[in-house]
Symmetry: C2
């Protein structure tokens, strides 16, 4: 048994908890989970900034997130990163670990039309927002389930992402 | 950055979240956190039971919890285990990791009279209850902060611990 398992179970447990508490209101539950993720991301980022050189450039920061950080957070690199070079980044992770783990353990099939599934990625959504915000890039993050993975869209914007 | 950090931050984040949400009602917040811990403990226990021989005896089960499991869960062994041989076990961990990490990161001193501190051990409380319940020993778990550590009292009872 490793720490990874403890984390996974805790993540699943809070997802289930909010799922049960707000069964009829997925948006409220997602917002809570996203807030929790935001706080974790913000704190992590503070810790990381002590260990790493500052990534000043916006694109460099997103690349750092997709390479080094993604491995720490989600145990693999992203499959694809695209940008319009105007502050919008689309990250595709074709086997998004937290979603897959959660569904496998809960013994549920992946169904991108299932509204409840958004709960399984809401924490990660907030996590990315918290990390980037603390790195100097307040942003809006949305996510959708695509096949077996997740596509995150990040819109860097100094206004929307602020707390 | 390791998985341990991710877990710690997530734990702290949910503690903070419930702390803010139920500022005037520590009992409700503690109950929520304990339920989340219970669910994690119950699931973990199911996974553990696949890998380990079944501990049939009550005392053996508690000893297994205090030795092998405690290291996985809290990164050290307990300092002391006492029992009245009638289903009551008192476990003392003189440097309880989740409490210390939380207080250190939040930059707060340990204060056993601070009611909010019970929030920092509520998750662990439920965790122990979930593990033992799934191992066949439904129980009540209470905890108090003693000096720099935590003293958990487990009362094994087939009635009270049931979901």
């Amino acid at each position: 048994m490793v720490d990874e398992t403890l984390f996974d179970y805790l993540h699943m447990s809070i997802v289930e908890h909010y799922n049960n508490e707000n069964e009829s209101d997925v948006e409220t539950a997602s917002a809570y989970l996203s807030q929790i993720g935001y706080r974790v991301g913000y704190s992590l980022s503070e810790r990381l900034s002590k260990d790493n050189a500052r990534y000043r450039d916006e694109l460099d920061t997103v690349k750092y997130l997709c390479k080094e950080l993604w491995i720490c957070l989600f145990k693999r690199q992203v499959d694809n990163l695209r940008t319009n070079h105007q502050g919008v980044y689309v990250i595709h992770d074709g086997r998004f670990r937290l979603l897959q783990q959660t569904l496998t353990t809960m013994n549920k099939p992946i169904d991108s039309n299932n509204r409840l599934h958004t709960l399984y990625i809401a924490y990660s959504n907030g996590l990315l927002r918290g990390i980037l915000t603390n790195m100097g890039y307040p942003c809006r993050v949305t996510a959708e389930i695509v096949d077996f993975g997740v596509r995150f869209q990040i819109e860097v914007n100094p206004v929307v992402g602020q707390k």
